[in-house]
Symmetry: D2
Subunit: 469 residues, 4 copies
Amino acid sequence: MHEECGVFGIWGHEQAAQLAYYGLYALQHRGQESAGIAVIDGQTMHSHRGMGLVTEVFANDRLQSLRGFAAVGHVRYSTTGESSIRNAQPLVFDFRQGNLALAHNGNLVNARHIRDILEHQGSIFQSTSDTEVVAHLIARGIYKTIPENVRESMSMLKGAYAFVILTDHELIAMRDPHGLRPMALGQLDGAYVVASETCAFDTIGATFVRDIEPGEMLIIDHNGLQTHRFSETAHKALCTFEYIYFARPDSDIDGFNVHMVRKQLGRLLAREAPVEADVVIGVPDSSISAAIGFAEEAHLPYEIGLIKNKYSGRTFIQPSQELRSLGVRLKLSAVKKIVAGKRVVMVDDSLVRGTTSARLVSLLREAGATEVHVRISSPPVRHSCFYGIDTSAREELIAAKKSIAEIQSFIGADSLAYMEEATMLQAFGVTANEPHGFCNACFTGRYPTEIFPTTKTVLEERSKHPVER
Amino acid sequence: MHEECGVFGIWGHEQAAQLAYYGLYALQHRGQESAGIAVIDGQTMHSHRGMGLVTEVFANDRLQSLRGFAAVGHVRYSTTGESSIRNAQPLVFDFRQGNLALAHNGNLVNARHIRDILEHQGSIFQSTSDTEVVAHLIARGIYKTIPENVRESMSMLKGAYAFVILTDHELIAMRDPHGLRPMALGQLDGAYVVASETCAFDTIGATFVRDIEPGEMLIIDHNGLQTHRFSETAHKALCTFEYIYFARPDSDIDGFNVHMVRKQLGRLLAREAPVEADVVIGVPDSSISAAIGFAEEAHLPYEIGLIKNKYSGRTFIQPSQELRSLGVRLKLSAVKKIVAGKRVVMVDDSLVRGTTSARLVSLLREAGATEVHVRISSPPVRHSCFYGIDTSAREELIAAKKSIAEIQSFIGADSLAYMEEATMLQAFGVTANEPHGFCNACFTGRYPTEIFPTTKTVLEERSKHPVER
Amino acid sequence: MHEECGVFGIWGHEQAAQLAYYGLYALQHRGQESAGIAVIDGQTMHSHRGMGLVTEVFANDRLQSLRGFAAVGHVRYSTTGESSIRNAQPLVFDFRQGNLALAHNGNLVNARHIRDILEHQGSIFQSTSDTEVVAHLIARGIYKTIPENVRESMSMLKGAYAFVILTDHELIAMRDPHGLRPMALGQLDGAYVVASETCAFDTIGATFVRDIEPGEMLIIDHNGLQTHRFSETAHKALCTFEYIYFARPDSDIDGFNVHMVRKQLGRLLAREAPVEADVVIGVPDSSISAAIGFAEEAHLPYEIGLIKNKYSGRTFIQPSQELRSLGVRLKLSAVKKIVAGKRVVMVDDSLVRGTTSARLVSLLREAGATEVHVRISSPPVRHSCFYGIDTSAREELIAAKKSIAEIQSFIGADSLAYMEEATMLQAFGVTANEPHGFCNACFTGRYPTEIFPTTKTVLEERSKHPVER
Amino acid sequence: MHEECGVFGIWGHEQAAQLAYYGLYALQHRGQESAGIAVIDGQTMHSHRGMGLVTEVFANDRLQSLRGFAAVGHVRYSTTGESSIRNAQPLVFDFRQGNLALAHNGNLVNARHIRDILEHQGSIFQSTSDTEVVAHLIARGIYKTIPENVRESMSMLKGAYAFVILTDHELIAMRDPHGLRPMALGQLDGAYVVASETCAFDTIGATFVRDIEPGEMLIIDHNGLQTHRFSETAHKALCTFEYIYFARPDSDIDGFNVHMVRKQLGRLLAREAPVEADVVIGVPDSSISAAIGFAEEAHLPYEIGLIKNKYSGRTFIQPSQELRSLGVRLKLSAVKKIVAGKRVVMVDDSLVRGTTSARLVSLLREAGATEVHVRISSPPVRHSCFYGIDTSAREELIAAKKSIAEIQSFIGADSLAYMEEATMLQAFGVTANEPHGFCNACFTGRYPTEIFPTTKTVLEERSKHPVER
């Protein structure tokens, strides 16, 4: 499962590019495929983007040439194909009204529709990215100022987005009317900062001001900050997976700290699905908080039963099938002294296809665990996400096809329990029956927006036959 | 002085990308800044482009992933900025009618005009390249087939171009109505090949078929080769600098072998501007042929009096001013034993700003030459080129500001002679007074096409304030 | 503080180099400066080593060319200088008795003495590494077989070492008479494996057989495994810092699991130095286990109060002083929601110079902690290590100069407590008063071996004026 | 055929490393496999070496860290194996008398003998290079100063060598008693410079002082320059292949300019082996001078009939056999317009295995040459070189096995003529019958030094079973 992106913007600081670099570095967990930064210096827009980690893309003196007082940055998720530099962001365009750099986190469900229309009007596309569609809409806008054309373009978009746009004259930040993807506003030394997660603020020493509202458009320029609403109603529907899996534990999103939510999910899970056991372990890194919560609530010792090797890199040589069958295990190791002879509760934050869980259960048994009880701190994932999370196509989601008993058998656990949606919502102090402000579509199938018939098909086909460039 | 590009296309060979690689390798002298190849395999278009030499851009296994039966390739000239990957070609687009890859050699004099119009219609641009303008025109075409829309687009373009376009269904090659830039057609093993110069055919073992005609559009697809004329009249005006400086000596362009032309220029120069001397030397590499011709005609020994170091690379460390003042000379060395005590004729193919010539004359004197007579195998360059040659802005052209006597004094030569335009044309068997089929605008100021008022301004300003991306 | 190295050896497997690669990958935490592997194929010894992580050094097809049935590998700690490829191991030599590859973890206290003697006998040295001294001793040996000469050479060495040596005919593994550095023996699929830590066995699927004994020499060849003792008595003195800081939590060393020891140290610390507080946090990564133990014993919640960014790389751009003063904090972030308004216990495994602790305390206060109590799960470090741990020179050790109260004030904590040596030993079930089998010299100044007068001087000077190559 | 190396040394200049860099750049044609520089700054010796061209090895800021007032540099020839960084020079050692950096051009015929003796005395070797043997001899010397021990060591060496040695206190340059390999002395701005070829002086702006004498040892230190003779008699025997093939045309070696010698060889060849023909061409780059001389003497036009692509690099992708059979020809192209319908004289400087010549003759015929007459400006190579030239083993030398008629038939030429040894010597103004100062052993089998029985065997076996490291 991959988060699609992290975005960052800053206006009003002499060292805009450097701060974007450190901000993206803090957001690196949201995407490791590519990174990019665009800056303006009052005259010209400069940009650089490349494949790899922020530190790799901006190695050598790349950052030096990006001088300016405002910047927008982007990190993108990791895929296997190396050739997708064209999809790296921020996308930078030159059009009638000047320069435009766009950074986008999310997924537009009607992008294909709009693209078809634009293509019939003669538009050409250089990437497969939804974001390019938005650039065309803005360029074809009829208003005199870019912000007006941006706002008008937003009214045509459906889906999930947190946008940061840099023009020659302003920085614009927007969050979709449902607030599916997070974005926050901060301040540093007189400058304004926006970022997908607050951990970016902590890293650069900025102060958190507030979350950006669903349907809100911030315009930051030499006159300061203005706020506009480009969408009226729409009930809020923040992605719960941000808390469960993607975000950094030290980030606060829409008022909740990620680690605290995870720990609380662990506690609730311990109450809902208790089990007689000797020790509680978590799957590194994202399930550690939930495992600690589970252990506290269950009055069981929390232990480091699985260790993750932190030195894998882009040039890692995968073991041959032969070596794998010998037992070469590279990413996670079980700690024998901890699990041997023990009844182990393994807390994981989610279970998508089941193959990793099956491998971990087997690893723990080989290490001597007498029982392995798997506890998932979220409900079964039964539906695809169309809002920017790279869950697999629906037929690969094990919970879409198998019962919980079948899944337990598939992964070889002595017991398996997921969390109910209602229980999960308790961690946020809300209930499932009334409007609660979260998107749980991947668990429930209740999508907060219209899902265009073609979207599913397009997304699924795209993953089969990618238009590589 | 830089040639802008080399283009290559192939249709109907299983190893299209590999052959494009070797073809571009043969055309590498036409551009060292970036290289790229796009292929089609009947389903998808794949492409890769990058900064650097062909061998660098396609290092590792980059070529492996470019499987297909047709390819288009491009090499681009060297500039100092590293960040111009966006201008690397072939440009690849997705539009209403499918995929499109464009490779362009030349310069469109009305590109800025068309771009303004397109921008006012809402087009967005991702590069500063003229070529992107053409993609927009094609995409906005009203005809049902891409070739029709390509042809229609060509009618709007003014300037110099050799285009190779790859679509999902055909390879299209065009040369502008004046034939300012060269392009030839070849065959290999049942496949069709097009290239800027015939040396690419020799390298891949292809047979030369014929030069592509000015105003001709070749369409190559599964049904074979069709030829169309997209422009009626227009007198031919092939760039003489292709012969004088850019092209490889082993290439034949529009019926003339480059080495033979150069040698003949040398002979004619010896007749026109003889000098009492002991030895004739040429400035490597492009002036060697002319120097040999001069020596033969003058019955003087031709010697290797200047040697060029062939191992400079992209990471070369330039000497500090201090070391330069000590006499560190990296690119060219004078051979003392050859020039010491001798009256030397130094033949050079052209003289643009005069600084290099001044350095070489001084180098030869330090090496002991008693006299240095400079002979230029082309007329004085007094006008900017708007057709794809990166001559300097007009105020940097020494012959635009100084008399020949002043130039002789500036470079410190004992004598200096250029060639008359009429003499130069003799090398091709034509005369200056009647239509002769060559563009000598940089010598004469007689441009074969309209030059848009803004073009000069735009070009000159662009070189001062490049829109970096 | 840096561990000097990790070593790995394997004999009797067709994929020796690949397994060494994965073994070194598991040992990567013991050294990130350089990596190397040497193999034998029965005829020739092949080797490759380079600067950087295992995955970087063996990128491309480097591993392919290392075919053989036996291998020795090495990872070395990180320094700032890039030019120390000469010190990368395994060192490979050709001498009278054939080929020899040496991999060494530890430090020889009399290396300088032996080197002086060897130099006076005409030896030449290509590295500053102690290991090269050993190669000379072996080559000058008077016995007929390499193992005999190796054993004889060991008798001349004083200090800490775990050696793995590969010759044309055998793999030899030795641990110094005090067992200062760890090494274990395993088996995989009929092959023998040795490694600094057992986590390497788990990664490649090997079975742990036993720890190698202090003063033991294992010879593994086509006839199987032989054990010899090259040193008689000597009381065992395993470095406690292996448990406290260096080793991976999932490794077992001489019978103790690292995570379990750390957790027990945390429990003992909570008993020895309790404090009224709201929350316990650990300094990632090595202090997490101790923090969990402390929290359990103190019945306080364990929380993730400090987060480490895991994406830093070799090309990381350090922030300017100006940005640092703005508050740019890259490696560790405090989680505000967890520590704000709380009395925090920060558990760290050791405190060497105090600067990091001071920074972390300040970070926690800025994040809103009302009190910060620092608990160190080891005694004060007051003495330099001469056995392979890169502690600072003695004058940089804060506990060598300041009282605990002064240190508390320096780091700005509300309270500070270290652990007594006696308490620490309880974690291993031994007492300080009787022979206990551990080296605590950095805490106590009681060095298990003679420390040559020059050693200190040499080591300290070396760090000031490194003989770079 | 490969030249083994180029050496460079400088003493007494603040920018020693930079000047070494440019000097090696001028000597790059003598070796492209590896490059290295060592410097001293009065306190420490710093060095860096790596695989690849000088510009690649010293990319980034590598040169910055090499501060000092004296330097020694080396370039080494190209082989296929990448792993030979250990053989890269200068070799740098630390021994009783301080630091020592050695750079060597040539080959020691008794290196294996000395190495055997040293190994029996307990020496260890880290490279397969002869040069390491010399370092051991110096270190085992019994004299008080390094220069004395160097001189003594030289007395034990047999074979070809130009050595440049840098110590903490002096720069030492030596040429073997036969002067088999060239080396010259220059001056620059108060500093002394030594280099394999004078082209290095011209590049850095140094003045040629004189050639270093066979058997001479120069010691350059803060007191200036001293000269010693370490060998008495020995008749001089400079390698003629330096003139024929290796050296740069602008270099002067022992009084003769390389280009002038080559041109004179061409003239003599035209007299000795005239042929009725239309045009004379040379094989680039080294045969151009001879071809010009041949053409002048024969009163035939000299033309550029073969063109060499100058853009090949280290990452060049070799064509598959299939593409090669299609006619892909990458390095050299024939110029059809020049050779078609012509009787061509192809002048080449030497003919070793015959395969290249056969390919070129065939290339010329395909390009339409009606006759191809091959003229070789040196005698048949019938014997291996043991002095540093990587000629093939004897069984691969076509002239050792076949008659000239058979060779002509093998390469498919209409006629073939070599040059007589006596004629070749005329170019230097000497005759074959009296002592003439040149080594022609590869033509005549008369080796100027003893050839140790094992040398041949060792060299030949080494090329079959390289001890890779």
